[in-house]
């Protein structure tokens, strides 16, 4: 068991290193030069200012040196300065992380709350029209463009019915109710894909579990069918669902980008899109690294949680 943890950490570190290399160098494939981008059209005409800026930004040093300087900074929490706003990147990321996290969390809650009952009912009624409807719902969730679903929700519930505010963001600590009201539509839209994935997973796992001997044995005890399905069937089917949720965490957060644009939520995804338009390379590097880090961390945590949840793993 100890060995498993150590190996897991070591691989994660190697992968993290490669991730940082990719994040760093992707900015250097970008067309144009940072200094030119900062000076804009007219600044490029002034060779003296251009040379000065290059010196300031450290652009004259070899790439490898700059990579290690960057990683050194990142490790001490210094992501550098945004080329666009000139503010330190670390605090900016932290500020943008909140809305994205809130959106992703709400989406996960919606997805799980809908998907688990649907998956269970589909499996219990396997190969009937109920099951077919469940599968259709799951695949529609996977196939629907989340940002389009968001736009349609906005059209119905904000523009036409006026039940919900169309867009915007309020921090949850300032006005919790309004904050959640603003996030309902984007969160539902973001939940659709995850919901589809979880429905499929729960259904498949339940179908497997329901053929197990211990299900028949549980029925023979005289507990209700509902207890058989929830206590024995669902409990044994939930472990893979935990994995899915963990592995999807980072992807759900990234998938929020278009929704953040649609609903004017100042999150990480929108920051990424804006940074690309403004050629804010240092910011792009940091955001890419942050997303990859979130994905790696959540899958790492998932492995650990899985080991906790499954009693068979603990002692083996």
């Amino acid at each position: 068991m100890r060995n498993f943890y150590v190996r897991r950490v070591l691989t994660a570190l190697v992968v993290l290193f490669i991730v940082s290399v990719i994040s760093f160098f992707i900015a250097f494939v970008l067309p144009g030069d940072t200094a030119t981008a900062m000076l804009g059209e007219e600044g490029g005409l002034d060779p003296e200012r251009y040379a000065y800026l290059r010196e300031q930004l450290g652009l004259n040093k070899p790439l490898v040196v700059r990579y290690f300087e960057w990683v050194g900074g990142v490790l001490t929490g210094d992501f550098g300065v945004s080329l666009r706003t000139n503010e330190p990147i670390g605090p900016a990321l932290l500020r943008r992380l909140g809305p994205t996290m809130q959106l992703a969390m709400m989406a996960m809650v919606f997805a799980v709350c809908v998907a688990i009952p649907v998956g269970v009912v589909a499996a219990v009624n396997s190969r009937t029209w109920v099951d077919t409807a469940g599968t259709l719902l799951a695949l529609t969730g996977i196939a629907i463009p989340a940002f389009w679903l968001g736009i349609m929700l906005m059209l119905f519930f904000a523009v036409w019915l006026k039940w919900l505010p169309p867009s915007g963001y309020v921090p949850i600590w300032e006005n919790p109710l309004e904050s959640i009201r603003l996030m309902i539509m984007p969160a539902i839209a973001l939940a659709s894909g995850l919901m589809g994935v979880i429905i499929r997973q729960v259904r498949a796992a339940m179908l497997d579990v329901l053929t197990e001997d211990f299900i028949t044995a549980a029925r023979s005890k005289g507990i209700t069918e509902r207890q058989v399905i929830l206590r024995h069937g669902l409990r044994n089917s939930l472990l893979p669902v935990v994995t899915i949720i963990g592995l999807q965490m980072g992807h759900v957060m990234a998938g929020a980008a278009a929704l953040e644009v649609v609903f004017s939520i100042p999150g990480l995804g929108r920051l990424a899109v804006d940074s690309i338009f403004f050629r804010d390379f240092t910011m792009i590097q940091a955001i890419m690294l942050l997303f990859a880090f979130i994905v790696l961390l959540s899958s790492f945590v998932t492995d650990m949680v899985y080991a906790r949840l499954d009693p068979r793993i603990r002692y083996d």
């Binding site: 197990e212 001997d213 211990f214 028949t216 044995a217 549980a218 029925r219 023979s220 005890k221 005289g222 507990i223 209700t224 069918e225 207890q227 206590r231 024995h232 409990r235 044994n236 472990l239 499954d310 009693p311 068979r312 002692y315 083996d316």
Partner: protein, 363 residues
Amino acid sequence: MTVSGPARSPDRPLLHLDDLHTSFAQGAIVAVEGIDLRVGAGESVGLVGESGCGKSAAAKSILRLHDPRNTRIGPGRILFEGRDLLQLSDEGMRKIRGREIAMIFQDPMTALDPVMTVGDQIAECLDAHERLSATARKARILELMKLVGIPSPATRMRCYPHQFSGGMRQRIMIAIALSCRPKLILADEITTALDVTLQAQVLELIRSLRDSMQLATIMITHDLGVVAGMTDRVYVMYAGQIVETAATDDLFARPAMPYTWGLLRSAPDLEAPVVERMVPIEGMPPSLADPPSGCRFAPRCPYGREICERAAPPLAPNPVSGPEHAARCWGTQQVKGGGWLIGHDWRAPNSDTPTSGKAGTNA
């Protein structure tokens, strides 16, 4: 066998399978075909046959444990204390399961839920049928675990199934089955998955519990060795039908028909010094989707005659023993063209080969 009187007769059996049929796949596969089986209160009955003969299907039918979406139970009746279980609502059936009739499953490795502590799994059956205070409930769990011989139950009850050995798990299955003091226990191949020493221990445990708790049991097994000494009466099943039934002593003393002989020869630990031990029956059981039209055992029977393939024999009393001993075999029945196996000693070599047999059957 004569049909018994009305259900309220004084010697009404605890359980009576009355012409029970169970079929799968829209009736295409008839796994149980017209079984008549009785178990008295406190009586122990064996249900013996090769795997696939329908004995497990029959046992699961009693508790209605088959997937209702592809299984049809009926026609027939399952009378438990005079009530037809097939007419009960789901809720009515639920109250029977575990409390009146409990089942012990074949493989203790797969019949326990891997993510639930064994204490909780024992408690589950209690909770379904009785209202107990937390302390009484715990005391009962500990008592049950002690009863089936699990050491230090107070700590073991918080363990998960994978932390127990196979034999210990089977003891837990037994504890679960006993938890609500049922009147009848269906023991489905409970020793098959265990090694020989454990088999003896588990059987001994069942025997002592049965005697002390006045339990009726149905021992379902492919091994006549398990039935010997464990049961009062035996039913032998083949291809969905009962082919021989007798008091256990009588069955071992005077087995009537060739299929039972085959089972006796293939039983591993018989005391009688048979020269060839463990002779498996040749051939495979017939497909239940398309059984032979005559005697179902005829294609594999070394004693078969012309009549066997022409007509299906009824289950009729064996003339050598009392009326309680019946067999489904033309060789034991005094009808035209039958009766050639009456008084035949099954240990004697078979002089009656199928070819010579058939040649001599024109009278």
